[in-house]
Structure formats: structure tokens, C-alpha cells
């Protein structure tokens, strides 16, 4: 028998779902601003396509795999809710309408796939990417979501409900998962032409800052919305989110200033994301002082972690592994130290007298999700590469993906084109596309 709907909880989760959705265009701009000017649109399209593709998969069967009753001993859900069966106007999950819960969780699935794309910026085939997203969501995201988030129903998900690891808003499902998968993906695709030699500077840092601002804003829905209720826990999660993001900014900038001589804008927003990642699992189990520590550690550790790719030679282009993978681990493990019964109700970390138990549980969760998603992602990526093709040709990569893949250029700020060029007589007059007969097909401009 479903319980009653609580209007206040519903309002809070409704707006939280919208906030998480906004993170996806936010991420698109964050990533898009970071790549070189010839690949901006491709980067935007990798994020936007996740929003569309994952939504369809979710409606078809994804929601059911993640939140259906246990199949295969709890490895995944059944297809009972496929096609959104059981997600009607009057269905209730906890204290909110089931469609609201399904919409909120949908956004998590979509953004996790979008996060991945940063690790293979500037070189992936768009068709390969779309196929990958469908398979990866089905084989990696939905199972892991079942393990962790299914507990929201009060029974099931082994990581949270049986292992009793703590992960309020998806430090494993979203962050660690995307980070580790991003690493596998970067390894399969290989580095960009010019990696470790050419400067690949962000082409538009104000766009990156805008994207980061939208991410930070949306993350309140992500974390505090994961309380699934409008009350004290949401409040603490909200405050912790703000605190950890802030100390991570300061931690990252301090490292940069000391190490490189400059506190950079890219460092500030990277720090913010690192902090937000680390507080994602932990926002509902620590107090603001704990959040302060988690953010600081995440900012400092990730500011070093993003440099590992240069040392070890994998091209995690926009630092998905360095931020989401490493930040996710930091957040998960620090719960084992900083969880306080004043927030969790019972569970306690090492520093609050809880012994090593919680730390152990957190470690198991990290290892389980990390190894599962690395292995599966590597296999999926290899298969996509083999059967669909996952990497563009070298010349196309040099010329840039925007024009070659999408037939567009991101900016046209000059006066040159004001009166130049002309529309070709074409399909809309004649029904079939034509080209002036007296000139050869245009070569691509490289």
C-alpha cells in the first residue's frame, strides 16, 4: 500500500529534478569551453545527445532495470516497469509521486553518461558515441544504480541496504562510475594527436565559468534533492554542498599558487567541481566542519591528480578520472572518517568513534563499483571500436570535428562573411539536393 503524497517533498524533488537537468547543458558548456575552438560543437553535442538518448532508454527499460524488483539476486531490476508501467499520476514512491521520482533519477542517468564524454574530447566518432551511451547505460549505469539507489525504496540495493555503505547522492553511481569509465574509455581510444606536446588551452574560459556556475547551482538539487524530502537532512546536505565546493576551490588555488605561481580561473572551477564530487556521497552523513575537510582534501588531491595523465600518458582530456574518479573516492572514503551520528542517526566514522567498520564498508563499495565499471566499460568500448568505429581519422581530428561531423562552425564573429557566400539552389526548391555543375565538390578546409 503506497503512502500519501507529501506536497512539500514533491515540490522539492520536482525542482531538484529540474536543477539536475540543468546540469547537463551546464556540463556541455563547461566541457565545450575547455576544448579548442574547432571542436566546441562536437563537445556540446556529446552532452546533449546523452540527455536525449538516455531519456528514451530510461522510458523504454532503464528505469525498470534500475528500480524494478531484484533480478539475478539483486544484480539488476526486472522489466516490470518497462515503458513506464507503474509510473502513473497516482503512483507513489516514498512520499512523492512515482513520476517525480522517475524524472529525478532519470537526470542522474543522463548526466553520468554526459560526464564520461570529457575523457575522449576531440577525437570520438559521433555514431560510436551514441551506440556506446546506449550500451554503457544498460550494462553499467542501471546495474550500479540498482545496487545503490534502489535502497530509496527501503529494500534491495546491496551496497547501501546490505553492505550499509553510505552514498547519499551517487558518489559511486555517478562520480566514481563516470571517472573510472572515463579512464577506460580514454585508454581504449588513445591520446589525441599532439597530446603532451601542443597546448590545448580552453578556447573560452567565461563559458567554462558559466558551465561551472550552472553545475554548482544544479548540484544543490542533486545532493539536497537526494534526501527526497524537504526537511533537515536536505538542509544539511545543501549547506555541506556549499561548504565543500568552497574549500575545494581554495585548496586547489592554494596548490596552484604555490606550485605554478598563478591561481587560475580553470583551477577555481576545477576545484569547485572536485569539491562537489567529493561531497556527493557524503553530504548527508557529515556536519559542515566535515564538509570543510572533505572539500579541502578533494581540492588538493584532485589538483595533483589531473596531472597524472601527463606522467602516465593516458589522455583523459577534460579530467573525468582526475576529478570524478579521484574526487568520488575521496568523498566515499572520508565518510569512513567523518560520518557523524548527529547527521546519520547511527553510523559513525573513525574520527567520531565509529572504528574502522564504516571505512571498510566504504572501501568495499568503492572497489566493487570501480572494478565493475572499469572492466565493463573497457569491454564495451573495445566492442564499439571494433564494430562501429570509435575514433575519427587523423586528418579529421586535425581539421576539427565541428565542421566534419556536424557541418557547422561554433562562431562567426567576423565581418568577412557579412556578404559572402551564397545559398545553394537546393532541395527546398527542387526536391532533391543539387550542386552547381561547373565546380568540383568542395574540399574540406584543412
Amino acid at each position: 500500500m503506497p503512502g500519501d503524497i507529501n506536497g512539500a517533498d514533491t515540490a522539492w524533488v520536482l525542482i531538484s529534478a529540474a536543477l539536475v537537468m540543468l546540469m547537463i547543458p551546464g556540463l556541455a558548456l563547461f566541457y565545450g569551453g575547455m576544448v579548442r575552438v574547432k571542436n566546441v560543437l562536437n563537445m556540446l553535442m556529446m552532452s546533449l545527445s546523452c540527455l536525449a538518448v538516455v531519456t528514451v532508454v530510461w522510458v523504454a527499460y532503464g528505469y525498470s532495470l534500475a528500480f524494478g524488483p531484484d533480478a539475478f539476486g539483486g544484480l539488476i531490476g526486472t522489466l516490470r516497469y518497462a515503458g513506464m508501467a507503474g509510473v502513473g499520476v497516482t503512483d507513489v514512491t516514498g512520499t512523492i509521486p512515482t513520476p517525480v521520482f522517475a524524472a529525478f533519477q532519470l537526470m542522474f542517468a543522463a548526466i553520468t553518461a554526459a560526464l564520461l564524454s570529457g575523457s575522449i574530447a576531440d577525437r570520438a566518432r559521433f555514431s560510436g558515441w551514441i551506440v556506446f551511451v546506449v550500451i554503457w547505460s544498460s550494462l553499467v549505469y542501471f546495474p550500479v544504480a540498482h545496487w545503490v539507489f534502489y535502497s530509496a525504496h527501503g529494500h534491495g540495493g546491496w551496497i547501501v541496504d546490505r553492505l550499509h555503505a553510505i552514498d547519499l547522492a551517487g558518489g559511486t553511481v555517478v562520480e566514481l562510475n563516470s571517472g573510472v569509465s572515463g579512464l577506460a574509455l580514454a585508454l581504449v581510444l588513445g591520446p589525441r594527436v599532439g597530446f603532451r606536446r601542443d597546448p590545448m588551452r580552453p578556447h573560452n574560459l567565461p563559458l567554462v565559468v558559466l558551465g561551472a556556475g550552472l553545475l554548482w547551482f544544479g548540484w544543490f538539487g542533486f545532493n539536497a534533492g537526494s534526501a527526497l524530502a524537504s526537511g533537515g537532512l536536505a538542509g544539511v546536505a545543501f549547506l555541506n554542498t556549499q561548504v565543500a565546493a568552497s574549500t575545494a576551490v581554495l585548496g586547489w588555488l592554494a596548490v596552484e599558487k604555490r606550485r605554478d605561481g598563478h591561481a587560475t580561473t580553470l583551477g577555481a572551477v576545477s576545484g569547485a567541481v572536485a569539491g562537489l564530487v567529493a561531497i556527493t556521497p557524503s553530504c548527508g552523513s557529515v556536519n559542515p566542519l566535515g564538509a570543510l575537510v572533505i572539500g579541502l582534501v578533494a581540492g588538493v588531491v584532485c589538483s595533483y591528480a589531473v596531472g597524472w595523465k601527463f606522467r602516465f600518458g593516458y589522455d583523459d582530456s577534460l579530467d573525468v578520472a582526475g576529478l570524478h574518479g579521484v574526487g568520488g573516492v575521496v568523498g566515499m572514503l572520508l565518510i569512513g572518517f567523518l560520518a557523524t551520528a548527529a547527521v546519520t542517526g547511527s553510523a559513525r566514522g573513525l574520527l567520531y568513534g565509529g572504528g574502522f567498520g564504516q571505512l571498510g564498508r566504504q572501501t568495499v563499495a568503492v572497489l566493487a563499483v570501480g572494478s565493475y565499471s572499469f572492466a565493463l566499460t573497457w569491454l564495451i568500448a573495445k566492442a564499439v571500436d571494433r564494430f562501429v568505429g570509435f575514433r575519427v581519422a587523423r586528418d579529421d581530428e586535425l581539421a576539427g570535428l565541428d565542421l566534419l561531423v556536424h557541418g557547422e562552425t561554433a562562431y562567426d564573429l567576423g565581418l568577412q562573411t557579412a556578404g559572402v557566400g551564397h545559398r545553394l539552389p537546393g532541395r527546398h526548391e527542387s526536391g532533391t539536393p543539387t550542386r552547381p555543375a561547373d565546380r568540383p565538390i568542395a574540399e574540406q578546409p584543412h
Binding site: 597546448p199 588551452r201 605561481g261 587560475t264 576545477s270 589531473v306 596531472g307 582526475g322
Partner: protein
């Protein structure tokens, strides 16, 4: 007729313009450019990797003038654009065979 071209530091454009106006030259054309020479670019650090950005932003100024004025115009520009630090730029002179004012079709000195 000559064409005097100067590659200068961007923030010196105003001084160059004033020097030219003082000399009686009332027209010029400017293009954004970048260059390198003895002055190397700067180092930017991104997420822990250091990059040297070789090309330093410059402005490229073109002035058409009478043969007789070219030397003085070069001097005026050199004086105005100088900061004394590396990367101040170059000025060079190229012979011009014809100049036309588009609006009127006037040629030669009258076109300036």
C-alpha cells in the same frame, strides 16, 4: 609613393596615432597580428602542465605616404612605439606603384 608597415605592441597604437597626426598623416589601416622574434611568448600553466604560447599579440599598422615623407614617418612611428623593452616591433618600407581612392577614383598623392 611608399607603404610604411609597422608591427607594434598593441597598447602603443594610441601613441603612434598621435605621432602620425602630429606629423600630418591622417589615415592608417590596422590589422591584428601576432609575432615572435627575440621576444618569446609567455608560459601558461593549465591543470599542472606548462605550455609556452609562442606568439605574442601585436598590431600591424599600414600607412601610405609620399616618397618624401616615408623616412620621417618611419622615425615618428619608431619614436612613438618604443618602450625600450624587447618585442617593441619592426617598421619597414615598401615601394608602391599606384594608389587610388575608391570613393573618387583620385590617384597618387591626391588619393591619400
Amino acid at each position: 609613393m611608399k607603404l610604411v608597415t609597422a608591427v607594434i605592441k598593441p597598447f602603443k597604437l594610441d601613441d603612434v596615432k598621435q605621432a602620425l597626426e602630429a606629423f600630418g598623416v591622417h589615415g592608417l589601416t590596422v590589422t591584428e597580428a601576432s609575432g615572435y622574434g627575440r621576444q618569446r611568448g609567455h608560459v601558461e600553466v593549465y591543470r599542472g602542465a606548462e605550455y609556452e604560447i609562442d606568439l605574442v599579440p601585436k598590431l600591424r599598422v599600414e600607412v601610405l605616404c609620399d616618397d618624401a615623407d616615408a623616412a620621417d614617418i618611419v622615425d615618428a612611428i619608431v619614436t612613438a612605439a618604443r618602450t625600450g623593452t624587447i618585442g617593441d616591433g619592426k617598421v619597414w618600407v615598401v615601394p608602391v606603384e599606384a594608389v587610388v581612392r575608391v570613393r573618387t577614383g583620385e590617384r597618387g598623392l591626391a588619393a591619400l
